[in-house]
Symmetry: none
Subunit: 415 residues, 2 copies
């Protein structure tokens, strides 16, 4: 079953509100095997609503609208859709009774302007709203199915869950749309695409979306309109194929944070962790301590932004800074080893680099980063050349440091 | 001038991504007096893109698309739109040269799959992307105007600002919708609303939106469809009224970061800065170092997550920890003073608290935070009781620490 969403509200066109309703509905429907084929946002204007709803019904035979059901002047959805279906609006005494009762509980009476909320297109089914004043409506006719929900997120959500999803589930064929996110770090989108090749067709048909961000490139594998077991099986085998081709770049699946994987590995090995940060200025520590329960593994660290702090707190020798510069393999190594010693940590990671926009040179352009990880007296260092603005370079450097830490710990755990 | 937005990406229809690009573009265009009349999201499928773009051009004569310009298989926007305009795609050597140069800076070569990114519809103007690989395109013809931007938010934003907005501004008529953001911290939305009263009607009509976030409560003042000068005048007088009523809670206007205000004040006073962080784990340092040029003011800090680190690196005496606990006024004060001494800083801020979800008690529930600021041998401390989950409590604590730092520095500067 296909459906389109039409979210109604001038604020959506001014960009002052994110269309979170649309995203939430799309997720809920996909989980039921209902495929959202288009999302449209229009202003609270009758002609624009009419054109959008009519186009959606023409293309997909079903539409779900949000917004425009309240008592105010700009709430016109119901009237427009009734006209489109060529049915009159009729006063529904039971809806009005519910409204009166609702106001009575707050020791008030509904104002006359609320009477319009009790009007229902002839033939429409009222989706009772126990969480607000505007009921939802379910209207079927020659044009197809139109579901109208209020725009207030809390009310929309409840009506969706209690009134819409059960009805759609009964209609849908049992087929679902399922997705699986495979997370990678340290590899560019194009390089990843070359390694993976055409996995969309290789196993069983599914779609692959590349989602690059500062955390790395995520792959969303989606299986469409299948029985749940079959969808899961295809996703599993495609994910395994991705892992076998992308190797160490894959750090996990689903909505996980690399920082929590690092903490888990360290915890299972009984190791305590420290950080020494220059250009990231506390970002790696912040990522690790964002995870609840990090205090049993993470000791703390030194933000050695100034070279004086690197010397005094991280024991980086002045001659080393003079000879190699603060952004160098030698300094990254000593920073990691220095913080591990100073904090009595078993494992430590360091970051030093040029986040820009200033500070770059021909030899060390903006985006040049050294990271190092010391674990049981063995120190591994990596040089990175990161793209982006200051924010992106720092976020990517922090992610790369966590990734190095994870690989070292994971390697030790599986040895 | 009217325009429609078409955001392209199957992930938008699965509800897995919020359409934040669409909201951001709508805001930027409204500010130029360009009216967004519809937003549509469609899948990465040629027929759906074609139908959406063609409908938008038919209705509004102008459309801005995002997404589908990358090098991977699912990126088809350019081809579909060239077909719609009945023009061929042509290889553009200068776009390719930019791409090669961009990869060269990262010491890599672009893979063959990137060649498609150098293809341009005949007659199209290339909007050079200095922030990523996919250039934007500006195509005009009998069908109207189509602007294509990449879907990656950072790149979209830069191209919008530098390439699209100036061109549209030149076209648009005189009336604008302008907004001004007044930023507050340390005051609840309801308390702020009481202090402000009905300023929407008091001066000249404008609208006020309260936007609470972990950074504080922002106020968006908006003046609608006015000549630019009149809009600015109204916003200015309303902002002054807000400042006179909300006092010290207001720290600035517009898209500024409290961290950059802190750095500016310290810089103008010639003071050098350090941080000592427990529950924020590096977040305050990360906020400060996110600002370009922070290195002339910010020395670094100590992440004293574990009490051992507090003792050894911040000189917090063990008896103090025993008597008062790590989350206490006494420990917060000693942490700030300790890090200032250790790093030879003129001013330092500390944070210690219980971010949850565990670790709370009746006496010190989750959300209890102590912050302290030491400046020229005077230390000020504050206790906070913050609401929210772990992430929110930490972000609010970091913001409160920066706000305390800012008020102390600002007070000294104006003494």
């Amino acid at each position: 079953m296909n459906i389109e969403l039409v979210t109604i509200g001038t604020e959506l066109l001014l960009g002052m509100t994110l269309d979170s309703n649309g995203a939430e509905i799309a997720r809920a429907l996909a989980a039921q095997g209902v495929r959202v084929t288009r999302r449209t946002s229009v202003a609270d204007r009758p002609d624009e609503i009419r054109e959008a709803v009519s186009g959606a019904l023409h293309r997909s035979g079903a539409v779900l609208t949000t917004g425009g059901l309240g008592p105010t002047r700009d709430d016109v959805t119901k009237k427009v859709i009734a006209d489109l279906y060529q049915v009159p609006l009729e006063f529904d005494a039971s809806v009005w009774a519910n409204l009166v009762e609702r106001f009575a509980r707050l020791e008030r009476k509904p104002p006359e302007s609320n009477r319009s909320q009790a009007e229902v297109p002839r033939g429409g089914l009222v989706l009772r709203n126990r969480w607000g004043t505007a009921p939802g409506l379910w209207l079927e006719g020659q044009l197809g199915l139109t579901i109208m929900l209020p725009g207030v997120p809390g009310e929309m959500r409840k009506l969706l869950e209690h009134e819409v999803v059960p009805r759609l589930r009964a209609r849908a064929s049992g087929a679902v749309i399922r997705s699986l996110l495979v997370r990678t770090s340290g590899i560019a989108e194009s390089a990843l695409a070359e390694r993976l090749g055409n996995i969309e067709q290789e196993v069983d048909p599914l779609t692959v979306a590349y989602l690059p961000s500062v955390a790395g490139v995520d792959l969303r594998l989606s299986a469409w309109e299948l029985a749940p077991d079959e969808a899961d099986r295809r996703l599993r085998s495609a994910a395994n194929l991705v892992r076998s081709r992308a190797g160490e770049s894959v750090y996990g699946e689903g909505d996980i944070d690399l920082a929590s994987l690092v903490l888990e590995e360290a915890r299972s090995l009984g190791l305590r962790l420290a950080v020494a940060e220059s250009c990231t200025g506390g970002l790696v520590g912040a990522r690790l301590t964002e995870i609840p329960g990090s205090s049993d593994v993470f000791l703390g660290g030194v933000i050695g932004y100034d070279d004086g702090v690197k010397r005094e707190l991280l024991n980086v020798p002045e001659p080393l800074l003079q000879e190699h510069g603060a952004v160098s393999e030698a300094v990254a190594r000593v920073m990691a080893e220095g913080v591990a010693r100073r904090l009595h940590a078993d494992v430590a990671v360091s970051v030093t680099g040029i986040a820009g926009p200033g500070g770059g040179s021909d030899a060390k352009p903006v985006g040049t980063i050294w990271i190092a990880c010391t674990l049981r007296n063995v120190t591994e260092a990596r040089r990175l050349r990161l793209a982006g603005n200051r924010h992106e370079i720092r976020a990517r450097a922090a992610q790369a440091a966590l990734h190095l830490l994870y690989r070292q710990l994971h390697g030790l755990a599986n040895r």
